[in-house]
């Protein structure tokens, strides 16, 4: 019994409490804590993908698309075209946007904000 304890004392891995890891969290990024959803997109990825979706819309001139462009005022699109763009963004990020929220998305800035703040965008 004493021999076993002595051997284990040599071999034991020191237990690290969570308090010590707090300083490393900023370096590692997001905490993995039981949630199965740890692939939050970075802002540049969201911006790039949203702009790609808007640029590949046939009625849009790709050279005019910037992250702050307004669909109806700047790109000259119809309200039905904004609906189509919002649906394309939904399909791109695998989101389900409620009807009332989708009606309010009017420009690239709003779309990027919504997708970035949505917890389930991927």
């Amino acid at each position: 019994m004493a021999l076993r304890n002595a051997v284990l004392r040599q071999l034991r891995v020191p237990v690290q409490t969570l308090g010590m890891n707090q300083s490393q969290i900023g370096f590692l990024g997001s905490i993995r804590s039981f949630s199965s959803n740890d692939d939050h997109l970075s802002r540049e990825a969201v911006v790039d993908r949203v702009l790609d979706v808007v640029k590949s819309f046939p009625k849009v001139d790709p050279s005019k698309v910037t992250p702050e462009v307004h669909f109806q005022n700047d790109l000259g699109l119809d309200s039905l075209d904004t609906v189509e763009i919002v649906m394309a963004i939904e399909e791109e990020f695998k989101l389900e946007i409620p009807d009332k929220e989708a009606d309010k998305i009017d420009s690239c800035t709003l779309a990027i904000e919504y997708v970035y703040n949505h917890p389930m965008s991927s």
Binding site: R12, V15, S35, S79, V83, M87, E96, D99, A102, D103
Partner: protein, 117 residues
Amino acid sequence: MSGVSTAAYFARRAAQKERVRILYRRALKDTLNWAVHRHIFYRDASDLREKFNANQDVEDIDRIDKLIAHGESEYNKWRHPDPYIVPWAPGGSKFCRNPTPPAGIEIVYNYGLEDNP
């Protein structure tokens, strides 16, 4: 007959425009439910867009209301019985499946249990 544009008129027109947008959105999603293959979906989506565009210049408010009601009844007739819903959304297969655990719960790997066999 109101040739005068009052605030109530504009409010009514804005409400109608919102109804049209929501109807178009639902109809487009429904078309995607029915026509899964992309080339068929594009064709059906452009047909739907043509139907909406044909009436876009109507100015008479009551006629617009009738057209919207007709469109909504058409949409209700064509609704898919088993629509595709994103899994984590209400009605989807993963909805409420793994709710987030309450905050502050951690696992502490207590390998020191060898002390108390």
